[in-house]
């Protein structure tokens, strides 16, 4: 009887230490997760508090001011006139062009990898895709400089910038396409086959619509990944004072403008508002793709 009581007491003591350990562990996890989210909160806070003053309608409808205008505004304690229209249009132009290059190629390679899952050549392609993902963006910029700037447009151009950005998008789209198609049950494919549907039509009319949300998510994440790239654009698109829609001419972009503002003591105030806009772009793209994923999972 007594020995039973002692045993029970020992057991209870064991339980208490376990509960304590559990609580300590939960606390540590909470602290670290808080540390992880705090930078993003601080970044957004800083961008908004420093950048909101400059944001008005003109910020979206006017091109970047020159340093003289900015200096006068600063001297009169006014906000800097002008905006980042040339950056926004340049970014949209180059992202669109990069998407036109990368989306069809990425989707096709993704489909190829899915179809030839275990073949040797597919493995090589997959490895190379991983390597491209690891290439520093400035190196891709350099390649684009030699191939497109020197070879095709004979001068800095939006096309060269889009080429570099498109190459950066490729691995992300390829991988997301392959993973998305892998998630589609084999039975759906068989249903199409049993109706006598030719194989290419099963891919186009059954698999791609079924995996559409997944493919779209991959594309959106790839765009949000490249929209803030600066280094490859410095060597390719260079930048421009005005709005440019000619893909063979130098073009500005929001991240390029941020870099230019940084280098001009009179325009430092514009860094924050431009960064805020860029950040909002990326956040919106991420939220949309999160929303699509959540909708798909329901």
């Amino acid at each position: 009887m007594i020995s039973l009581i002692i045993k029970t007491k020992k057991y209870l003591k064991g339980i208490n230490t376990r509960i304590l350990k559990n609580q300590i562990f939960a606390g540590v996890v909470f602290v670290f997760s808080f540390i992880t989210i705090s930078p993003i909160v601080l970044i957004i806070y800083k961008l908004i508090s420093k950048g909101y003053k400059q944001i008005n309608l003109a910020f979206f409808t006017e091109i970047a001011p020159d340093t003289y205008e900015a200096m006068i505004a600063l001297g009169n304690n006014k906000i800097i006139p002008g905006g980042i229209l040339n950056g926004i249009t340049g970014t949209l132009l180059m992202v669109a062009l990069a998407s036109i290059i990368a989306i069809p190629i990425g989707l096709l390679i993704g489909i190829f990898l899915y179809e030839n899952n275990k073949k040797k050549y597919a493995n090589i392609v997959r490895d190379i895709t991983d390597i491209i993902q690891g290439v520093p963006s400035i190196v891709l910029g350099l390649i684009a400089y030699f191939w497109v700037v020197k070879g095709i447009t004979h001068g800095f151009s939006a096309l060269a910038g889009s080429f570099a950005l498109g190459v950066m998008m490729l691995p992300l789209i390829i991988r997301s396409t392959e993973e998305t198609l892998k998630m589609i049950p084999e039975t759906i494919k068989e249903a199409g086959l049993a109706l006598g549907v030719p194989y290419h039509k099963i891919i186009l009319r059954v698999l791609i619509p079924t995996g559409f949300s997944g493919l779209l998510t991959g594309i959106l994440l790839a765009i949000s990944r490249i929209i803030g790239e600066t280094a490859p654009l410095m060597l390719t698109a260079l930048g421009s004072m005005g709005v440019n829609y000619n893909i063979e001419k130098p073009t500005s972009a929001v991240p390029l403008l941020i870099w230019e503002f940084y280098n001009d003591p009179n325009m430092v105030d514009l860094i924050w508002s431009s960064s805020l806009i860029l950040m909002i772009f990326v956040l919106i793209l991420n939220l949309i793709s999160k929303h699509i994923i959540a909708k798909k999972n329901n």
């Binding site: 049950p185 039975t187 759906i188 249903a191 199409g192 049993a194 109706l195 549907v197 030719p198």
Partner: protein, 260 residues
């Protein structure tokens, strides 16, 4: 081979010397000779891995997609060699329903039924389409349940309804033969009963070949039964005879539950 049936008089489907191998040495189906009677339900039974699904899939050439699978022998449909038919013609004449209900998730109920026409680019008038959809859904007794929600996605239906939708999709082509690969194994008993009743009704218009793991099901609804074991057709006969008086010892052992 069973002594019960040597051959079936003018079979709708005649399988001669059919062998299927996944790799060169091993046959999944070996030298099967069988004739299928028109407007009857023929059940294919046997333990797991005996080749029953492989046999079924050989009939509408579902193996064609996998180059490593080798199929030998001859299959004739209504006296015509199926190897002379294109995939689409063959599969229009021989429809198939799978183990798990697999409606196209992005398509509405209406589009699912008509999918065979749509995906193959067969153009027909709207009135004809409506008629095919209504008739096919009526055939599977789904029309009254879904007629007000034809534009909804097929995946909103219950499992049993989805499976009947898949049968309707196969029937939309007005095939001669419908192949069913364990069509009720993923369904609850009530949905299973509904499908079984449906199959009995359907045999008036179609010839049905069904793989089943469930002996009771075979005895309930089939007219003819095959028993397969390790790729070979061991016994084939009228279901009643085969269940009451099996000729082969293996068949008897299987039916009495000595192995499964």
């Amino acid at each position: 081979m069973s002594e019960l049936i040597k051959y079936i008089e003018d079979p709708i489907l005649d399988i001669k010397n059919l062998s299927v191998s996944y790799n060169r040495d091993k046959y999944a189906v070996e030298n099967v000779n069988v004739g299928i009677k028109k407007n009857r339900i023929t059940a294919i039974m046997g333990p797991s891995g005996c080749g029953k699904s492989t046999l079924l899939r050989a009939i509408n050439r579902m193996h064609a997609l996998y180059p490593t699978i080798e199929t030998k022998g001859q299959i004739s449909l209504n006296g015509q060699d199926t190897s002379t038919m294109s995939d689409i013609i063959l599969r229009r004449k021989i429809g198939m329903v799978f183990q798990r209900p697999n409606p196209f998730p992005t398509m509405s109920i209406y589009d699912n039924v008509i999918a065979g026409y749509k995906l193959n680019g067969i153009r027909i008038k709207k009135s004809e389409r409506d008629e095919i959809v209504e008739k096919s859904l009526q055939d599977v007794t789904l029309w009254d349940e879904v007629k007000d929600s034809l534009t909804k996605k097929g995946s909103f239906l219950s499992g049993g309804q989805q499976q009947r939708l898949c049968i309707a999709r196969a029937l939309a082509f007005r095939p001669d033969i419908v192949l069913l690969d364990e069509p009720t194994s993923a369904l609850d008993p009530i949905a299973t009963k509904k499908i079984e009743e449906l199959l009995i009704e359907l045999k008036e218009k179609y010839t049905i070949i069904m793989v089943t793991h469930n002996m009771a099901q075979a005895s309930r609804i089939s007219d003819y039964s095959m028993f397969m074991y390790i790729g070979k057709l061991i016994e084939y006969g009228k279901t009643k005879n085969l269940f009451i008086n099996p000729v082969n010892k293996k068949t008897e052992e299987y039916l009495t539950g000595k192995f499964s």
